[in-house]
Symmetry: C2
Subunit: 339 residues, 2 copies
């Protein structure tokens, strides 16, 4: 779903269309609204591997009864600065939204708080989870494990998921500083997109089913696996993500859940970890200004752009022109909404 634009959709209209698709496929009204805004937001910001490209996967997973679209998460207040949520086999975002107000209250009261989500399916980008904290003046770090598709550094068998981490910080005078990066050398969605479009990958992205290096995205998807980014250092980050997102939350590791009885299932059944900090605690009232200073230094040193900046440009453009959609994708979505 990356064809040229034939039409431009207002954000609200795309949300409404995606919401109809979720409702048609067994998602509760409340959860459908959260998921549709999340997915439409990714498409709007140019995060295309987590935008409407994902809708067939959402639908397929729902229809396989692997994920419960009507799940009602259970929020547990387990300490002055610690919140747990049992997502009850539903998508992560409704669990996150159910816990978010309590989490923010705890951060403001204590200076920092942890949110640990378990038994949850995260099928989207991570930046939508952290960026709004930065808009409220808070610093947020999150990690989610996924499904085993990454071999450990020097290993032969996939153990880790793509295991992204995302970080957001307020930044004076600009949109927040936000990054969202897989601890694999490449995101799984980008391998899928390359496979569909027939493009080769750069060297060092993955291995084939025999554990040999390959540049063919189809060989990676067909029994092969990804590699961690940055050698043993990215590998350690991938392992830290398993520890924080699964061991600490009480969720499953990336290689642990069994979806063999759910043909068509695509969503990882794992956990998500957040730590959110109030940077003003301790009287440091120049924090956002200081962040803008270090970001400016990086750009002055010659880095072409900061992560997230292109997304904000794309979002601003979509606010003016609407979200670009090809006629084919529009038709596909309309058919899914009416199926």
């Amino acid at each position: 779903m990356t064809d040229a634009a034939d039409t431009y959709f207002p954000y609200e209209d795309l949300v409404a269309l995606l919401e109809r698709i979720f409702l048609r496929n067994g998602v509760s009204k409340h959860n459908a609204s959260i998921l549709a805004e999340n997915c439409a937001g990714c498409e709007r910001d140019g995060s295309l591997s987590h935008g409407i490209f994902r809708m067939p996967g959402y639908v397929s997973s729902l229809n396989s009864a692997w994920v419960d679209g009507k799940a009602v998460p259970e929020v547990e207040d387990v300490g002055p600065a610690f919140v747990r949520v049992d997502a009850k086999g539903g998508f992560t975002q409704p669990a996150f939204f159910a816990a978010r107000p309590l989490l923010i209250e705890k951060v403001k009261q204590n200076g920092v708080a942890v949110l640990a989500i378990r038994r949850s399916h995260h099928f989207s980008a991570l930046w939508p989870d952290v960026e709004p904290f930065a808009d409220e003046g808070l610093v947020a770090l999150t990690a989610v494990n996924s499904m085993a598709c990454v071999v450990p550094h020097g290993g032969r068998k996939a153990v880790f998921g793509t295991n992204p981490i995302a970080f957001a910080s307020p930044r004076e005078g600009s949109a927040p500083f936000v990054f969202d990066q897989a601890s694999s050398a490449i995101a799984h969605g980008d391998v899928q997109i390359a496979a569909r479009s027939g493009h080769e990958l750069k060297t060092g992205m993955g291995v084939d089913r025999d554990g040999q290096p390959t540049n063919d995205p189809k060989a990676i998807l067909d029994g092969g696996a990804l590699l961690p980014f940055g050698g043993h250092k990215g590998n350690s980050i991938a392992l830290m993500v398993e520890i924080l997102s699964a061991a600490l939350t009480g969720g499953y590791f990336s290689g642990e859940f069994d979806w063999s009885g759910h043909k068509g299932a695509q969503t990882p059944f794992t956990g998500q970890f957040f730590v959110v900090i109030d940077p003003e605690r301790g009287g440091n009232n120049v924090f956002a200004h200081r962040v803008s200073e270090i970001c400016d230094l990086v750009l002055e040193a010659g880095q072409d752009r900061l992560p997230g900046d292109r997304r904000h440009l794309t979002r601003a453009k979509a606010a003016l022109d609407g979200i670009p959609l090809s006629a084919k994708n529009h038709e596909t979505l309309r058919a899914m909404a009416e199926a």
Copy 2:
């Protein structure tokens, strides 16, 4: 200081020798004891780039009056789960030890707490700061910024320090899982060791004074700079470290402090960030067991060893045999202690 062993020192004897060196060079008794244990512990565990190799740098920095060896840190209790420390221009470790009991109390009360240290000089490895938390059943993540010697990804001017992060987690039936890794492609201490021993570096470690890639450690040290590990992803982690360790703590960025009036100064005057979590909060009493499971999966998948494991073997060996020292290094240390 990496010559063959001529003598084997008991840990306590090496601590006493290093303590005498610190005392001779204007460090208070209390601070000297902390620094000597830290440095001897690095040497004992085979972290040679942060062991006795660093002693001339400690002494040179103290004698330049750049760092205050007698500094008395000021601990501020700024929230139920937030501690700040002003290190008052001294070394970081005494500031950390001054705040540690309050930090642990807050973690146990609340489930998580932050420690923000500023105006501090960190000249050692990071793993000694986090590993003891894991020994007490806690999960710890720390980051410290240093001195500008790393160019941003695609940039030409050094902005970041080597900006390491370290993580420690309890692990049932084994020593804790601990990693300590620079967000540069290589640690600065390892570049110094390569320069002294005349070894070339692997490709992708750094640039020369003209911003061109080089394998010569001397060209990197002589006006050149290091590169972040893992391309733009390691770069984002380096920037996050500046935000957490300097902007959030109220410390200096890696390129910001001015030591030009202190000839011989080698220690970065920055900040350090910690977040420490009680994984048992929320009734997750199988946490350490789960960590051992994922660590075992990684080893079974073919990864040769986990970060930190070699250190624990080296430590166990030193407990039996003593810490290996060359006659030359022993003589150098003895001369420093009597100078």
